[in-house]
């Protein structure tokens, strides 16, 4: 069955069957759950851990989970954890070496994870972000074995976005709120007229799992309701990027006075890059043990907002906050395109919500665009 064939309708209790089907097939299910006041992605044992009846209200520098009257499971956006945490973990061992009693040295490569992940309930912007990571970490001449070992064979159940947050701007980046590719199953949560899910397969594996779930063919009114819910979501998105080619804007803005302005507000704390679902930068370090017989080469998430990240012989290259913010934004929206043939930003809005200072990349882009117009002859 291909995605254009008749979608299926799954009842509210069908998510339990989905979890069972995925676990039966050997997947470790990763999905949204409420923890410490936020909807985060985590390994889940059952559908009962999904954030039933929870939404999130976001603004620049602000996130609050909110109880809902209904039992909506996927009506939340911009949580602080993205799929990146699972496929490109914050810390990974690249290799280790041990000195043997006879003086020889034996080495081992990266840990091979014992898990195959099934992502359940991630949104279309998150799928787009996985596509970006696929290109960056696995699409070149030297695929990253840590990433491919976690990403290969993943199963993706995307939840089309029906309740975008105030920080979302996926429509500007062309990544949502509808799911178009990159999934095994796409579901659309329907609330009016009974809690249910419209589901369609996006791959042979997805179709096979879908067939194992209790479902009925979706009626025309259910399909129309799903389309309308996603269209309402698109119309509800209130943040936008400037409607112009962003790489050209970034190139033209290299000397913009706006960088000094944003630098006065930027804490260089690195939160934007850490929550970004595509920021992939890392540093490596050697970790030895006390005996000197064992060493590990470890990799951890790093950020262009730290001084050490641009440390070359003699000192860091990007000492000013302005230069570090410019590096991040110019790469994300501009040079990423040259480097990987795609935008580094998927419009999920996490960097806006989780910036303690409330710096808003759409506002900064708009300011750069306005400043360029002022400069124009």
């Amino acid at each position: 069955m291909r995605s254009e064939e008749t979608p299926r309708l799954i009842g509210a209790d069908g998510l339990g069957a989905l979890f069972t089907a995925l676990r039966d097939r050997g997947y470790t299910v990763v999905g949204p759950t409420l923890r410490d006041g936020a909807v985060v992605l985590a390994e889940l044992d059952s559908a009962g851990q999904l954030p039933s009846g929870w939404s999130a209200d976001t603004e620049a520098g602000r996130y609050r989970s909110r109880r809902r009257e209904d039992g909506a499971v996927f009506a939340h956006c911009a949580g602080p954890v993205s799929a990146k945490t699972f496929v490109h973990p914050p810390r990974a061992r690249l290799w280790s070496a041990d000195r043997n009693p006879d003086g020889s040295v034996s080495a081992a490569g990266p840990d091979a994870p014992a898990k195959r992940f099934a992502f359940v309930g991630v949104h279309p912007c998150d799928i787009a972000a996985l596509g970006v990571l696929d290109r960056v970490l696995a699409g070149g001449e030297h695929p990253d074995p840590v990433y491919t070992a976690r990403r290969d064979g993943t199963f993706v159940v995307v939840a089309e976005c029906t309740e975008p947050a105030a920080t979302c701007f996926c429509t500007s980046m062309g990544t949502g709120p509808a799911a178009t590719a990159g999934f095994d199953i796409a579901i659309t949560e329907l609330l009016d007229g009974g809690h249910r899910f419209l589901a369609r397969g996006g791959s042979p594996a997805g179709t096979e799992v879908l067939a194992a779930l209790p479902s009925v063919p979706a009626g025309a009114e259910d399909t129309a309701a799903a389309t309308a819910a996603v269209e309402r979501a698109a119309a509800a998105i209130s943040r936008h990027m400037p409607d112009e080619p962003l790489p050209a804007l970034m190139t033209a803005s290299r000397e913009s006075p706006r960088w000094a302005d944003v630098a006065s507000r930027c804490l260089t704390c690195g939160n934007c890059t850490m929550v970004c679902p595509t920021c992939f930068c890392t540093s490596t370090e050697d970790v030895t043990d006390l005996t000197g017989q064992h060493t590990e080469h470890q990799r951890h998430w790093d950020s262009c907002f730290s001084l050490d990240f641009s440390y070359l012989h003699g000192g860091p290259v990007r000492t000013s906050t302005a230069s570090r913010y410019r590096q991040w934004m110019s790469h994300k929206l501009g040079t990423w395109q040259e480097q990987f043939g795609m935008s580094g930003c998927v419009g999920c809005g996490r960097c806006i919500a989780w910036c303690p200072a409330g710096i808003d990349i759409t506002e900064e882009a708009a300011a750069l665009a306005a400043a360029r117009l002022e400069d124009a002859p």
Partner: protein, 251 residues
């Protein structure tokens, strides 16, 4: 086997206790280093020179100012431990007050005291090779430093913000999700973001990160309900002198 000496100046002993707190790793440490001077652990004292000296506490007396120079001269590598040794500690609150007035208010016989007017970090007196921050220090950083010195490599001691570590361990940000005031964005990492992991804001015991933005942090703290006085007090706890510049813009 290298020789290790542990020295105490004005401090609470909590940082050197971190070495004993290494429990699981302590035997491995003892197998690799000769502990030559560590009065909290052993009365045995071996003469110098020492390969590595761990120095806790701040300089608050003329005698200690002399003693730290002798220790420096006897040490190949000198590592300072904690907020007192690196920033003068809580006792550096005296630096902006009248010590004679303090002494007369607190002690029945202030003339018994022989103290300097200031509490200053070790680095204000002698060269320091590595600084381990915190109140107390992180035992992982202590082990990392000893291990690195044994292997002849640079210890991994980051200078970026606490936020990096908070996100790496999947903490939910207490500022953004709960409106808790937090010094994490301007504070040096190394503790593993332990306070936010328990749902409270960072109180800055590691001192400032590499490039703290004081005015922006003050805006953030004010937005979460703190007055100028609250903000100054928040900075003036464990690393008052190190945060002086950052806090200078707080009001």
């Amino acid at each position: 086997m290298i020789t290790l000496a542990v020295w105490k100046f004005a401090s609470c002993d909590g940082c050197q206790l971190s070495l004993l707190d290494c429990e699981d790793e302590l035997l491995a440490v003892a197998g690799q280093v000769r502990i030559a001077h560590f009065l909290e652990a052993s009365r045995e004292v071996l003469p110098g020179p020492y390969d590595v000296s761990l120095v806790e506490g701040s300089i608050t007396t003329a005698a200690d100012a002399e003693r730290i120079r002798a220790i420096r001269d006897a040490s190949r590598v000198l590592v300072t431990l904690g907020a007192c040794a690196n920033a003068g500690g809580i006792q550096a609150l005296r630096n902006s007050a009248d010590v004679a007035e303090y002494a007369s208010a607190v002690y029945a016989r202030p003339d018994y005291l022989d103290t300097l007017a200031t509490s200053t970090p070790i680095a204000a007196h002698v060269d320091v090779d590595y600084e381990l921050h915190g109140c107390p220090i992180d035992k992982g950083q202590l082990l990392e430093t000893i291990t690195a010195l044994l292997a002849g490599r640079k210890p991994n001691l980051p200078a970026h913000s606490v936020c990096f570590d908070c996100k790496r361990r999947n903490n939910v940000c207490v500022v953004v999700a709960h409106g808790e005031p937090c010094l994490g964005p301007v504070t040096r990492a190394g503790c593993g973001a332990i306070c936010p992991a328990f749902g409270r804001g960072c109180f800055g015991c590691f001192g400032p990160a590499e490039t703290p933005n004081g005015p922006a942090e003050a805006d953030l703290l004010r937005a979460h309900g703190m007055s100028g006085d609250d903000i100054r007090r928040l900075y003036r706890t464990f690393t008052v002198s190190a945060f002086a510049e950052v806090a200078g813009d707080a009001s």
